[in-house]
């Protein structure tokens, strides 16, 4: 086998090893690449930034531990932004593990905002099964959908919920999603049926399927796509966190993939496979 033929058939274990090194090294040694803010991220930022003082916002944690490294940084960034603007934050989850993700996100924000008070500034309503149906019920009556919060306290005893009857009482909704039920269902019900502005964050893999909702009708006000979306948001709120750190690793991984693709194509052309296919 010639050198170029070998280039076309690199053992995937070598690829895995190089990707591992390419991801691990930038996590240890920061490279500090610069970031350019994209429109969908800026729109999420504007939605949060421009809401009225004392606005009520709903954050939905529709993901689990597997996608936590990608989505948790954006949830933390949006929470920080919301508490910075003194909004009232109501959290819910359409995924069972979302409850824990929410608790952990709030815990990490508390270090920076120690004065936020449970039940007054924020509440964790917990998990409710049903996806689309649950969102629809929330649109009609929040209290019937969530009679208690995650810790089983009756909703009637939580001051922040006094002014919340249904989804229309929220100024906007931000959904963090890694699958179904998730952001797509929030758009279809909360925005399309109840007219509440919806923005969100998702894994990078999901971005192509959600991007059709970033349209003239603003079905989706804005979208934080994967780690890069989270990093851009962290940059916008001037609070760099794990996403900004992770972006170096992701950038190197992408660069390595591009190098592999290039090597594969060089081998493909030099070995004449290109001509063979065309004959």
């Amino acid at each position: 086998m010639s050198f170029f033929e070998k280039l076309m058939k690199i053992d995937r274990r070598i690829i895995f090893l190089l990707i591992f090194i390419g991801v691990a090294v930038p996590l240890i040694v920061a490279l500090n690449f610069t970031l350019e803010i994209t429109q969908p991220v800026r729109k999420v930022y504007s939605l949060v930034e421009d809401a009225d003082d004392g606005a009520y916002i709903l954050l939905s944690f529709d993901y689990g531990p597997s996608t936590k490294p990608e989505i948790q940084p954006m949830a933390i960034a949006v929470l920080k932004h919301a508490f910075e603007r003194d909004y009232k934050v109501v959290c819910s989850a359409l995924w069972p593990m979302g409850v824990l993700m929410c608790s952990e996100a709030i815990e990490s924000v508390k270090e920076e905002y120690p004065n936020i008070e449970y039940g007054v500034d924020y509440v964790n309503l917990g998990y409710k099964a049903g996806g689309l149906v649950t969102i629809n019920h929330m649109g009609k009556n929040m209290r019937e959908t969530f009679p208690t919060d995650a810790a089983n306290n009756p909703i009637s005893e939580i001051p922040i919920m006094d002014n919340i009857k249904n989804l229309t009482n929220f100024d906007f909704i931000v959904g963090f999603s890694s699958g179904s039920p998730g952001l797509k269902q929030w758009v279809q019900v909360a925005h399309d049926a109840y007219g509440v502005p919806v923005a969100g964050g998702s894994t990078a893999v999901q971005v192509p399927s959600l991007s059709p909702y970033l349209n003239r009708e603003n079905q989706l006000e804005g979208l934080l796509g994967g780690l890069k979306g989270a990093a851009e948001y962290e940059k916008l709120i001037a609070s760099p966190g794990t996403a900004v750190k992770g972006m170096d690793a992701q950038s190197i991984a992408h660069l390595l993939i591009i190098i592999f693709i290039t090597i594969g194509n060089i081998g493909y052309f030099v070995t004449g496979k290109y001509k063979q296919k065309r004959l």
């Binding site: 690199i10 690829i15 350019e36 994209t38 824990l100 970033l214 660069l255 290109y274």
Partner: protein, 231 residues
């Protein structure tokens, strides 16, 4: 009769759901929601069926000592441990049969169930998901070859999007003056995603939507019966 009855139920329920989409008046308005709730209740009970099946299949394999039977022990033991500690001490704020287990909480820093969830389950799940990064690299290395015009265009778009979605794109073209922002790789990547990619996605979504309508009609009208086990 065994085959006809489910077909009649499918037809009636299918038609009711379609009608309820257009008639908000009671009793049609909430039919869809009610049926969805019924589905959730049934699937809630069905979870037990799945768990029992899991235990049965694994225990049989251990009992017969099939190849790699040791792996199945890990599964059964994990299953029993998680259920037991969940029942005994509960999760998060929920108490278990033995209360909140404050002695264990002071030792582990959280409840035993939450401790295992946080330190084992979360990491194992994240590991499985992160395999994607490695597999994406090997799959793209294999798949992206400039075999013809179409695949070459796909290759170029992929490289631009990959660069544009990372900080390297900014680093490479950040020096280009403001007047020529459209030449910035992140902007080109956004253009590809916003127009070219979105168009393709919509085409697939519309066609899949039509497929869903056709498939649903076949099922509602009883033409498609494979899901009942035969023609």
């Amino acid at each position: 009769m065994k085959r006809q009855f489910p077909l009649v139920i499918t037809f009636v329920v299918g038609m009711l759901v379609i009608v309820s989409q257009f008639i908000p008046h009671q009793p049609f308005g909430h039919l869809s929601d009610t049926l969805e709730s019924w589905f959730l209740i049934i699937s809630g009970f069905a979870i037990l069926l799945g768990q029992l099946n899991l235990l049965k299949v694994n225990i049989i394999k251990i009992h017969r000592k099939v190849r790699n039977w040791q792996y199945y022990i890990v599964c059964v033991v994990s299953f029993v441990v998680m259920i037991t500690i969940g029942i005994l001490w509960g999760t998060q704020d929920q108490p278990g049969l033995l209360g909140q287990g404050s002695a264990l909480v002071s030792f582990f820093g959280r409840k035993p169930f939450d401790y295992i969830f946080k330190h084992f389950f979360e990491n194992l799940s994240a590991t499985m998901f992160s395999l994607l990064a490695f597999f994406m690299a090997s799959a793209s290395y294999r798949a992206f070859r400039a075999r013809n015009l179409e695949s070459s265009l796909l290759l170029i778009s992929a490289v631009l999007v990959m660069l544009g979605r990372t900080t390297i794109g900014t680093w490479l073209t950040g020096w280009i003056p403001e007047d020529l922002t459209y030449l910035h790789i992140p902007q080109i990547a956004n253009f590809i995603m916003k127009y070219l990619q979105k168009t393709g996605q919509r085409a697939i979504m519309i066609c899949a939507g039509l497929g869903i309508v056709g498939s649903s009609l076949r099922i509602i009208l009883g033409i498609e019966r494979s899901y009942l086990g035969g023609k």
